[in-house]
Amino acid sequence: MTQLTIDGRTISVPEGTMVVDAAAKLGIDIPIYCYHQSLGPLGACRICLVEIEKMPKLQTACTTAVREGMVVRTGGPAVEKGRQGILEFLLINHPLDCPVCDKGGECFLQDYSFWYGAGKNRFEESKIQRRKDYPVSSYILLDQERCVLCQRCIRFMGEYVGEEQLMLEGRGVHTVVSTVEGQPATSPYAGNVIDLCPVGALLSEPYHFKARPWNIEREETLCSVCPVGCASLVTGRDGRAVRLEGRPQPELNDYGFLCDHGRFTYDYTYHPRRLTAAELDGAPQSPSAVIAAVGERLARAVAEAGPESVGVLTGGTHTVEEEWALARFAQDVVGTSRLGLVKPVAGDLPLALLGTFGDLAAATGVLLLGVDPYEAVPVVHLKLREARRAHPVAVWGLGDRTLTRATLPGDDYVVEPGRVAAALGAVLGGGDLDERWQALAEGLLTTERLVVLWDGADPGAAAALAQLAARRAGPTAVLPTHGPRNWLGAVRAGIPADDAAARGILEDAAEGRLSALILLGADPIRDFPDGDLAARALERVPSVYFMGAFAPEPRHALAAILPTAVWAEVTGTYANMEGRLQVAHGAAAAPGPARPVRPLVTALARAFGRPLRLGDDFDPFADQDGDRIARPPASQVPEDPAAPAPLRIREGEWALITGEVVAVSHPPSEIAERSRDRFPLRLNPADADRLGLRPEGGLVEVSQAERRFVAGARRDARIPEGRVFVPRGLPEVPVNRLDRGAGVRVALADRVPEGVAAQ
């Protein structure tokens, strides 16, 4: 620790801390533009000038590391003049268009000018003209005239993300931030530069001219799109969510970066497909009429076939409080124990192994078990890079395709589809492994602090992971990367989240043993790993009652529809993939008759004839492990996996592989439409060449037995030959309705055949 004095106050900070951060710890605000903790010092803007005893010149607080006994003054005539001078310089080529700038009111330049502003403008010459409203990505506009060349955006993209898509062009006063012509930034992290830009140079195109600081509400929320649950701020205007921004959480060492799939999909809350009317038997009805009818029918079903004839499935996207209300309704009102959660993978993580992002930051080794975090949980990819910036981290990929990538290099172990768990088991079992596999075994067993990112796809891996943790001397933490977004919140609400619970309910429904099925935001046909089972279940069960924001297909299977409020419209608690509970506040109004789940459930209970009192007696944080959900002890370890059945792939067939891709599975969004991947299927380039796929990608037909699907496909060298990668949840090719143990046929499709879903 180093002790120093800033403005007469003494503080001790770790060696190497920059003066600006030491001052911040004392609550002393030193203005900054170019400095950002995630990027480290640059010293370009010079606004952070301070006076340091024994130094003849003013120093930049962002590049000066503390030294024992240092005496710093952050004010006084010399400092004020220095900063005033810098501000004046920044303004000479900066347009004075704050009144029409989206950042007006949220701008560092404006703020500091207000503090230090010289008043009179001495610069009489003409400003340099540059590009305005220059699109640098599908979502980002650049105003070069407003740019102060702090380089935060460039350094973020190049150094932090590792995707050098923005650049500094030119020299001296002609320097600008730019992209190579015709090559806009495509990185899914690009949107962060909007938050990072201290002025109004990088703007959100979807938010452009949408609101002014004084007619918005900016509430603390969490991203609702994937289980990372990034802290964010939602901007509400006229009852609608119009912007999502990152929200740093210094206490968690989190800089508040988001991915664009989360940042630009908030409009799902008013997407045209959003349910805005209640329906009964296919006809619109008032919500209260539907509630009354559903309550009554449910009561009748219970009276006739017993409470266990009613199944309840949640989609795991609502708040903990709402999931809890659903559980109360199922258990206390209906009296059924048939309660479950629809999740897209069959694996069940032993919660004793559940790790945190803190574990990730400290990890010395990371195993990507079936998952490419860049695609599935993008901000975790950034967190991994962040960890690597601090210290060496070994990364291994184990899956049915390459899982590391240029921005996260490591060693890949590619196995046959469906054999991930078996491979991990074999690695742990010793046996005769070749040198490469031996290296993996050694790495996994001996790395000091291991974190496994697991996609949950291969159920047997749970046992192998438990075994791995038991064998290792150092700590082992697992972070499940699969959805739904709040499945751990549902666990907190007491809903069984294991695959067997949901499977049992669907099997019973398919066999005709259920009289009714209640769905809260659940779409089992789309999301359950066995989509055919779910489809049979929904066809067979006499009544399906749906509550949620987007109706599952087929609509005719739904006896009743009750629209609900969603994220941004309610305040409530979510648990992320670490099992961390956090509160999100509402900033928008639910459309039309959509209601929050809690009043909906109490109304249903009343109609059922068994009123439910959901007072404030439920506190998601009570009796938990701090802000993390309670986790059972390690003893509850599942059994060893059975050896997987061999793949049945015939001559000329391809193996089907899948995985989570948020770019595909995020909620429906018109904003995100502009960057939708037209070629979501992926093939090895050699295979693509053989097929004759065009370089930019093209349509292919994927078929199995009688089923045919057409979708866009492109080349990806990370897919092994003979395999076709189909993202999970892709409407064009519902991979969960195909037999993954068997092969598929792939052929070029020059047009979309009739009767095939195409978008």
Binding site: R46, P56, F89, R122, E125
Partner: protein, 433 residues
């Protein structure tokens, strides 16, 4: 009066021996004897001590004692790198170009001696992109040296091996600044780096690095042969030795002059044939355009580092620009400030925006469109740049301006009151304007 002029050239040896850029000629005249002696008779530390004892100071601009710079290298066993700064771009300075074109083997010899002294298996010359001829001369000389066993494995049959590389810049004055140079040498934009870490700790490719000027390094061969006392016979206690001064502007014989560091400016100008016949000196910039100018009244100032600082200027890189009474100081200043505007790398705010602003004001003044308040603005803007920029280019940009406003303020005022240049100087403007 300063020391007597040396009887021969020690650096500008091409002046005495024609064809000395060729290995054979260079060797005939004692070339590479110093290297042989250094490798065979000296320990590396002794060479560092010799350099310290000689009092040799860096000729790139800052005048930092060379031996001391070498001894800052961390003693952690890592291989060191020598980078020779041949980016010479300081307006008024043209010595390194002539030295490299005319006497490249002495640079190579000096580099190998230095590398042996500091423990560097590799060295680099970062040569200004415009120096095509110098580049060709230097690479040809390196090839000759390699073929003769002077470079490469086992230099001159000893255990010391050495590889030398020449890297061309591509038109950017800032790449003369040592950390910008290293960035450029690593294939990047020439934006200066933060210090710390200093190049001595983490320089080229993160290795411990010494950056020295061409002229600095060329002092090594005679120094090894003749010794520190020989070197100290010239100059002053703190500024010993000979310096190649580039003299240009209104003198009769512009050119490079290898002179003792205790000569006065007047003596130097005399050596260059005196001020243009029929004219008088008005002002002199003694050390390149980054340095403050001095009025004619200060011509008897000796050119050693200390005396020039005392007189309000600096020796810098030794580019002495002589201006006679026909020179419009406003125009001269406008020209120099525009240079810094054009050459600012653009990284930091004060230099990038400040030089832009100053240029605009100065152009206006020169056109006769200035106001009295502009003079205060010029000084205030200069003050807001000075000491606040990221690297020394910012300070360099205002040195001449501030000094000219001090010594020739009335000339600026005349431009304002008369609404025109009193000397009738016309500004260059392209035809399309």
């Amino acid at each position: 009066m300063g020391s007597p002029r040396p009887d021969r050239h020690y650096l500008l040896r091409q002046r005495d021996v024609s064809g000395i850029h060729q290995l054979a000629v260079y060797r005939e005249h004692g070339g590479y004897q110093a290297l042989q002696q250094a490798l065979e008779a000296n320990q590396p530390d002794q060479l560092v001590e010799l350099t310290k004892a000689s009092g040799l100071r860096g000729r790139g601009g800052a005048g930092f004692p060379t031996g001391m710079k070498w001894s800052f290298l961390p003693k952690d066993g890592r291989a060191r790198v020598l980078v020779v700064n041949a980016d010479e771009g300081e307006p008024g300075t043209f010595k390194d170009r002539e030295l490299m074109e005319g006497n490249p083997h002495q640079l190579i010899e000096g580099m190998i001696i230095t590398c042996f002294a500091i423990g560097a298996p590799e060295s680099y010359v970062y040569i200004r992109g415009e120096f095509l001829h110098g580049y060709e001369r230097l690479t040809a000389a390196i090839r000759e040296a390699e073929e003769a066993g002077i470079l490469g494995e086992r230099v001159m049959g000893t255990d010391f091996s050495h590889r030398m590389f020449v890297y061309r810049g591509a038109g950017a004055y800032i790449c003369g600044e040592e950390t910008a140079l290293l960035e450029s040498l690593e294939g990047k934009r020439g934006n200066p780096r933060s210090k710390p870490p200093f190049p001595a700790v983490a320089g080229l490719y993160g290795r411990p690095t010494v950056v020295n000027n061409v002229e600095t390094i060329m002092n090594l061969p005679p120094l090894v042969l003749e010794g520190a006392d020989w070197y100290r016979q010239w100059g002053t206690e703190k500024s010993p030795g000979l310096k190649v001064m580039s003299v240009s502007g209104h003198v009769n014989r512009p050119g490079n002059y290898e002179v003792p560091l205790d000569w006065t400016l007047a003596e130097l100008i005399e050596a260059a044939g005196g001020v243009r016949t029929g004219h008088q000196v008005k002002a002199v910039i003694p050390g390149g355009s980054s340095m403050p100018c001095m009025p004619a009244s200060q011509l008897d100032t000796p050119i050693d580092y200390e005396s020039l600082v005392q007189a309000g200027s600096m020796l810098g890189s030794g580019g002495c620009i002589v201006m006679d009474e026909t020179t419009c100081m406003v125009r001269a200043v406008a020209r120099v400030v525009r240079f810094y505007r054009n050459e600012s790398c653009g990284k930091c705010t004060p230099c990038r925006e400040g030089t832009f602003w100053l240029t605009d004001i100065l152009d206006r003044l020169e056109r006769g469109d200035g106001e009295m308040s502009d003079l205060d603005t010029l000084l205030d803007v200069s003050d807001n740049i000075n000491g606040k920029a990221f690297c020394a280019l910012g300070d360099a940009a205002v040195g001449f301006l501030v000094s000219a406003l001090k010594h020739f303020r009335e000339e600026f005022v005349e431009h304002i009151t008369g609404q025109r240049c009193p000397l009738g100087a016309r500004q260059y403007d392209t035809v399309n304007h």
